[in-house]
Amino acid sequence: VPAKPWADDEQAWNLSSQELLAPARFALDMYNYGRAAGTRAVLGAVRGRVRRAGQGSLFSLEATLEEPPCNDPLVCPLPETKKTVLCSFEVLEELKEHLLLRRDCSPVNAKVTEFRNATFSSFLPLLDKDPLPQDFSVKMAPLFKDFMTTYNRTYESREEAQWRLTVFARNMIRAQKIQALDRGTAQYGITKFSDLTEEEFHTIYLNPLLQKESGRKMSPAKSINDL
């Protein structure tokens, strides 16, 4: 699969079960890590897509997991019947080693799923994650206004502004995650790119050719002591 940005259409999600087996099994093992036998979830349905470059592959998986009934008061305060959990995982496979980069799971409630499919897919086509809590977007509104003033942003319509506020709020969460995962002194937060989705930013400002093509061979430079 040539290294290219995630395709948003359906077929991009249809990796063969053979390709999905290793990353999906790794993600399940990580999910069940530390659990005693008999209390572990089992894999239900799974679909995935992959972005590859060099020896690295980045799998993005969506899976349903079947949680067994729980009667152990140490694990669940109240007895729980069998339930289904919907998870999205990102698994980096590099030189046959796997690493779980992201795990987002939430109980599947049939009603909520139908609601989400029927409503959100209609007017926020690019929304690629669960909707943000309503109050979170409201909290972000003043920051977003400052952002628009600072970077002189205007949008063509109210819907576009509303959509960009949603992207901005989601990016604030992403920046916090990146901040938490940085071992240096860098500070991450609001920048002039904070109203762009990850896909938009990658497509507009970055240069995927660098990882796909090796370019013309150049002669090696003499090292300084040779000079």
Binding site: A3, A53, G54, Q55, G56, L58, L92, E94, L99, L101, Y151, N171, R174, A175, I178, L181, D182, R183, G184, T185, A186, Q187, Y188, G189, I190, T191, K192, F193, S194, L196, E198, F201, H202, I204, Y205, L206, N207, P208, L209, L210, Q211, E213, S214, G215, R216, K217, M218, S219, P220, A221, S223, I224, L227
Partner: protein
């Protein structure tokens, strides 16, 4: 290598530029390097044209990306680079309008540098700013400080941005590369990005290269 170095303090680096909504970082990385090489070998700092590379380097793909190694070859084959003033940046590809008579600088060759960061630092201190390519993880939200993402998040296998090493040093004992970006001076530290030095962070050591001006 000296413990620290900064070509900005020695007049070898032009102002931070802005590629706009175009994936032309490769052109800015190369012109930044050639500007430094010309300064060190001819004593004049000239701001050079990226638009010439977008329009006239037919191997690379203008706003859809390119590779420094191809760009050096294009400059050599074209007969040199015009200045930014003579062939200004538009941020989208146009018909090639290069004139050899207008070229103010030329290059003789290009070289690929070692992947050893100490050798890269020594070469930089002696020979000038270096074109490099990195994984741009987190840069969308970078504001200041020394970035040091977890290696799997900033894997050297996913290189997607070209920039210019202009110096290196330590801040509170944390080693860094000083990197000139091309997203304008209202991003990062006045247009600069500081990346941890010594661990191959984000693949910074994987595609170091330079033009050669005899």
């Amino acid at each position: 290598a000296p413990p620290e170095w900064d070509w900005r303090k020695k007049g070898a680096v032009t102002e931070v530029k802005n590629q706009g909504m175009c994936g032309s970082c490769w052109a800015f990385s190369v012109t930044g390097n050639v500007e430094g090489q010309w300064f060190l070998n001819r004593g004049t700092l000239l701001s050079l044209s990226e638009q010439e590379l977008l329009d006239c380097d037919k191997v690379d793909k203008a706003c859809l990306g390119g590779l420094p190694s191809n760009a050096y070859a294009a400059i050599k084959n074209l007969g040199g680079l015009e200045t930014e003033d003579d062939y200004g940046y538009q941020g989208h590809v146009q018909t090639c309008n290069f004139s050899a008579q207008m070229a103010k600088v030329y290059i003789n060759d290009s070289v690929e540098l070692s992947r050893n960061e100490n050798k890269i630092a020594a070469w930089l201190a002696q020979k000038g700013p270096i074109s490099v390519a990195i994984n741009a993880f987190g840069m969308q939200f970078y504001r200041h400080g020394i970035a040091h993402p977890f290696r799997p998040l900033c894997s050297p296998w996913f290189i997607d941005h070209a920039v210019l090493l202009v110096g290196y040093g330590n801040r509170s004992n944390i080693p860094y590369w000083a990197i000139k970006n091309s997203w304008g001076s209202d991003w990062g530290e006045e247009g600069y990005y500081y990346l941890y030095r010594g661990s191959g962070a984000c693949g910074v050591n994987t595609m170091a290269s330079s033009a050669v001006v005899n």
